[in-house]
Each structure stands twice: as structure tokens, then as C-alpha cells.
């Protein structure tokens, strides 16, 4: 078990270093896109684990990301303001303390909302949970308008994280934000990998495959489902932190139903339950809209106006239907499985 854990950490560290190194090959805009994809990846990883292992479909992960983003932005802003009076605002403390406090705030906010939803998830099956999370997404703009401090449709701004002086000559600010994004995402996804291949993942599969049998084996299905939802929410919340760092803005409009559906698309296309697939799916849903924009830019204004923002949604919809009907397993099926544990536990 110990060697397994060490190997997992080593692999995670290696992948993170690779991703950090890759930022040197990209121009600033590509680095911004990389940061966005990383944030989406964290949320999709949480979602794909939830859907693939426990069979619960959530349309509300955009709201959980928003909860993380709001938690981060509000906490980090307060801490920055508090530090300004003390004279510690300069140097490394000036940005690191608000950042860490913000991440803690995001974990608390997403964790609380995730726990509430998890309690519901423990009692509900299939379409009921999906419908509840759908109602949650629709209610987000209302909640932002009514809860004081969330500043309605305009949203709140997150503090800008400046490049540290030691690195200022070396990297641009977009690259620095991509680094932060990669590190936060690594912290969000690595526990999911450990969980998936460990005992908790086995329990989730057992509950998903046959609830009665799992109960007879001494597993509490309600607790497993609720726990899966909370963990998935935390990953989504950290994804929200990444987007808040990259865009310095959290508003309800950015986390609507359309965005929630994109997260589902990424999870389905990548292959439900596969974290590597989630990474590919996340890159796809961030890059394809941009590619479509580039492709339609040369068209006549009227046609371009109609296609803009819609053509990629049609494509995503078709892909989701085709993958579900003809090719369940998604992109993850391209890569042969080599972990013996998953061969034993997956049907």
C-alpha cells in the first residue's frame, strides 16, 4: 500500500513538473487558456468520479465551482485588506497569505454546499438528484442577487496575484497564473486519483453496481454517496479558485446552465470515471469554442453572429449523443488499461 502511495505521489509530481515546464513553450494567451483548462479539469475530474463511480449525475457542478470562486474571492479580498494596515503587504507574504486563505475559504464554501447536496444525494436516485441540481443552477443568479456580499449579476472581483520579484524577469503574469492553476489543480486531482484506486473507490463501485449486495457486505450506501458528492464538490470548488485566479472575477453569469452542461460534456467525452479522459475533455471544451470562433470569423457578419457561441454547442451535443449511444467509455478507451485493480473491480 505504501509503495503504491509513493508511486502515485511521484507520478503526480512528475506530471505537475511536466505541465509547469510546458508553460515555457506557450505564449501568454495560450498560458491563459491552459490555466482555464486546468480549472475546468479539476471540476470535470470531480464530476467524472461522481458519475462514473457512483452513477449520480449532477448538473450543478458549475454552482459548486462558483461557490469555490466566491469563497476564494471574498476571503482573499478581506485578508489582503487586513494585511495592508500591518505593513506586511509587500513581498511574499503580501500575495501568499491571501492566496492560501482564499483557498481555505473556497474549500469551506464548496464543502458546505457539497455537504448539503450530498445529504440529498444520499437519499435520492437518478433523475431526482439531477433535477434538484438543475433547479440549483437555475437559482444561482437569484441567490447572487439576494445573498448580501455576492453583488448580484455584476459579481465580485478576486485580488490580482502578482508575479513574485524573484521570477519577475523570467516569466510573464499569464505564465505565473498558469503555474498557480497547475499547482491548485494538482492538489485537487491527486487525492481523487488515490481515492479512485483505493478502498473508497471500491466502495463506490460496489454501491453503484448493487446497492443491496453492498449493504449486505457492511457498506452504508448513503454515507458512500454523500461522501462521493462532498469530495467531488471540493474538486469543483478548487476549479473555481483556479478560474478566479486566472480571470480575477466571479459572476453568476459565468457559471450558468450552459457551463454546467459543458462540464458534463467534458466528462462524457473523456469517458465517465476516467481522470485522464477528464483532462482531455476539459481541454476540448475550452479550446473548441475558441477554434470555432476563429473558423467563423471570416464568414459574413449575419451568419457569423448566428453561429457564434452556438455552433460548438451543436457539435458538443452531437458528440455527447454519439459517444453515449455508440461508444460508451469515451476517449479513455483509446488508452489500454494497465492497472490490475481496475480490471478486477470494473465489470
Amino acid at each position: 500500500m505504501r509503495t503504491h502511495g509513493t508511486r502515485l505521489l511521484l507520478r503526480a509530481g512528475l506530471l505537475t513538473l511536466l505541465a509547469l515546464g510546458a508553460t515555457f513553450l506557450l505564449d501568454p494567451y495560450r498560458n491563459y487558456q491552459l490555466a482555464t483548462s486546468a480549472g475546468v479539469f479539476a471540476a470535470v475530474a470531480g464530476l467524472t468520479l461522481l458519475v462514473g463511480l457512483t452513477g449520480q449525475l449532477s448538473l450543478g457542478h458549475a454552482v459548486l465551482m462558483a461557490a469555490g470562486g466566491y469563497g476564494y474571492a471574498l476571503t482573499a479580498t478581506r485578508v489582503t485588506e487586513a494585511l495592508e494596515g500591518t505593513g506586511a503587504a509587500d513581498g511574499i507574504v503580501g500575495w501568499l497569505v491571501p492566496l492560501l486563505a482564499g483557498v481555505a475559504g473556497a474549500v469551506v464554501a464548496a464543502g458546505l454546499l457539497g455537504t448539503l447536496l450530498g445529504l440529498a444525494a444520499a437519499r435520492l436516485r437518478g433523475p431526482y438528484l439531477t433535477g434538484l441540481t438543475l433547479a440549483l443552477v437555475i437559482a444561482l443568479p437569484s441567490a447572487a442577487g439576494i445573498v448580501p456580499g455576492l453583488a448580484g449579476a455584476q459579481g465580485v472581483s478576486a485580488p490580482f496575484v502578482p508575479v513574485p520579484d524573484a521570477l519577475a524577469t523570467l516569466i510573464a503574469v499569464e505564465q505565473w497564473h498558469a503555474w498557480l492553476a497547475i499547482l491548485v489543480t494538482a492538489c485537487a486531482v491527486t487525492p481523487l486519483v488515490a481515492l479512485r484506486s483505493g478502498r473508497a473507490g471500491l466502495r463506490m463501485r460496489a454501491v453503484h453496481d448493487d446497492e443491496t449486495a453492498a449493504r449486505l457486505a457492511g457498506i452504508d450506501p448513503g454515507r458512500v454517496k454523500a461522501g462521493a458528492f462532498v469530495i467531488s464538490s471540493l474538486a469543483a470548488g478548487l476549479g473555481g479558485v483556479v478560474l478566479a485566479i486566472a480571470t480575477q472575477q466571479v459572476s453568476p453569469g459565468a457559471y450558468g446552465l450552459g457551463f454546467s452542461l459543458l462540464l458534463v460534456v467534458a466528462a462524457v467525452v473523456g469517458g465517465l470515471g476516467s481522470l485522464g479522459g477528464a483532462a482531455l475533455g476539459a481541454v476540448l471544451v475550452t479550446l473548441l469554442p475558441w477554434l470555432v470562433d476563429q473558423a467563423t470569423a471570416g464568414l459574413p457578419a449575419d451568419l457569423g453572429h448566428r453561429l457564434q457561441g452556438n455552433l460548438e454547442i451543436v457539435l458538443f451535443g452531437v458528440v455527447v449523443i454519439v459517444v453515449t449511444v455508440l461508444w460508451p467509455g469515451g476517449l479513455a478507451r483509446l488508452v489500454p488499461k494497465n492497472t490490475p485493480l481496475s480490471q478486477n473491480t470494473e465489470r
Partner: protein, 292 residues
Amino acid sequence: MERLVFLLSTGLARGAVLALFALSLVIVYRAARVVNFAQAAMAIVPVYVAFAVTAAGGSPWLGLATALVVGALLGAVVERGLLRLVPQDNPLPGIIVAIGLVMVLQAGLAIAFGPDHRPVHAPFSQRPFDVGGISVLSPYDLFVLIVAAVVMGGLALLFGRTSLGLQLRAAAFAPETSRLLGVRVPRMVTLGWMLSIATAALAALLLVPTGLGLDPHAADVLFVNAFAAAVVGGLDSPVGALVAGLAVGLLVSLVTGYASAAAAPLAVLVLLTAVLLVRPHGLFAAREARTA
């Protein structure tokens, strides 16, 4: 007092539309045992067709009839052409395909008709009647109530008093036994989808003149509210859908009037959460057998 009467009467008219849409969800749930998450998108396609027909010089009534036919056809095409290909042993693939369908239909409509809101005029005045100094229903609200009552009565007759209705109910409750007794179960499932989408299209058509105008997402909130109503009433209970639809309509109208329009989705969310946690099978549904 005046305000309360006005809000109650408006809520009743909105509730009738909600009840109709909730009923369409119940019909498809009873026929195929699925919650159709594409119901809003599938209902708004016929509405676009209806307005295209009306705009091309047809009468609004021709548009209405076309919408019902197109809705029924769309239901049949989606059920036969798409959902029958999806594995049925658990609900997840069906829900995911429905989500894909929502994206295709709504974005497709935005491409075909342009993304802007299209203003829509009601066939009747929306200025409320004045009864003894208190403004109550508008002629259009009255029209909505009458249409909803007629359609619900017609559906009740169809399901309760005709041989076809008996076959539809039998196919939904005991597919294997019905098949042995000569009921064409797959045909009944398709018929259920056709009835459901036509009813949903009618509800969306009645809703659109009271809202901001026609756009591909015009029925999204209606779907969420109707889903809440259908769950509150119990997904397989038409009477539950009717009562809960009216109740949710009244709730939305009162919250909008006394708090703010923004509070309405939160009120529906709270109601849905409370009912799901206390009585997941709804207030009117027959108790299901214990599963574990």
C-alpha cells in the same frame, strides 16, 4: 387585499400552464419510466414552428394546430430514432442523451432563427379585468385557464374512458402482461411520447406571450418549475401534477409579488429540496414496493 387577489388570480393562470407542462412530464414518465430532461427544448421547437406559420400569414389557430402536430411528430422521432438506441437498464445514459439533445435543439434554433428574443403578441388582451375596483384575470389568462381545463379533461377522458387509454395505462404498468394480452407495447410507448410532447408544446405556446418573448431558452424555467411540481405531486400521478402545478404557480406568483421576481427560483428550489428530503415519491403517488 387587492394585491393579494390579483396575485392569486395571476398565479392561477400561470399555475395552469405549469400544471399542463407537469402533466406532460407525468405522461412520459408513466409511458416510458423516464424523466425527460429534454422536454423544454423539445417543447420550444414546435412553438418556433407555430410562430413561423403565423408570421407567414397563417392564422394563430393554424399555428397552434401545426405546433401540436409537430410536437407529436418530434416526440415520435426522438423516441423511435434516438432513445430506443440507448441502453435502458439504468437511467443515466438516457439522461445524458437528453442533455445532448437539449444542446443540439436549442443551439440549432439559435442558429436557424437568430439568437435574439422575438417579441410575441397574445391573441387576446393581457389587460386585467376590473371587478369592483380590483384587477383580476386578463382575457388571455382566462383563455389559458379554459384551454388548460379542456386539454386536461380531454386527457382524463382519453386515459380513463377509452380502450386506447386502457392500453396506454396497461403498457405502462405491466408491459410483459400487456404484451401477452395483445397490447402493442412499443407502439403505446411511442404514443405516450407523442401525447407528452404535444401537451408540453401547448404549455410552452401558452407561456411565451406572458414572458420576455420567444428564444430557445424560453421554456427552461418552466421546465424546472414543472419538474418541481411533478415531483411534489408524485411523478406518476396526473392529479398530483394538476394540484401541485397550481400550487407552484401560486407560490411563484406570491413570492414574485411580495418579495421579488429574483426570489422565485429560490423558493422553488427550497420547495423541491424539502419535498425530496421528506417524501421523495411525492405527496400523491402510490407507495412503491420496498427495494432494499
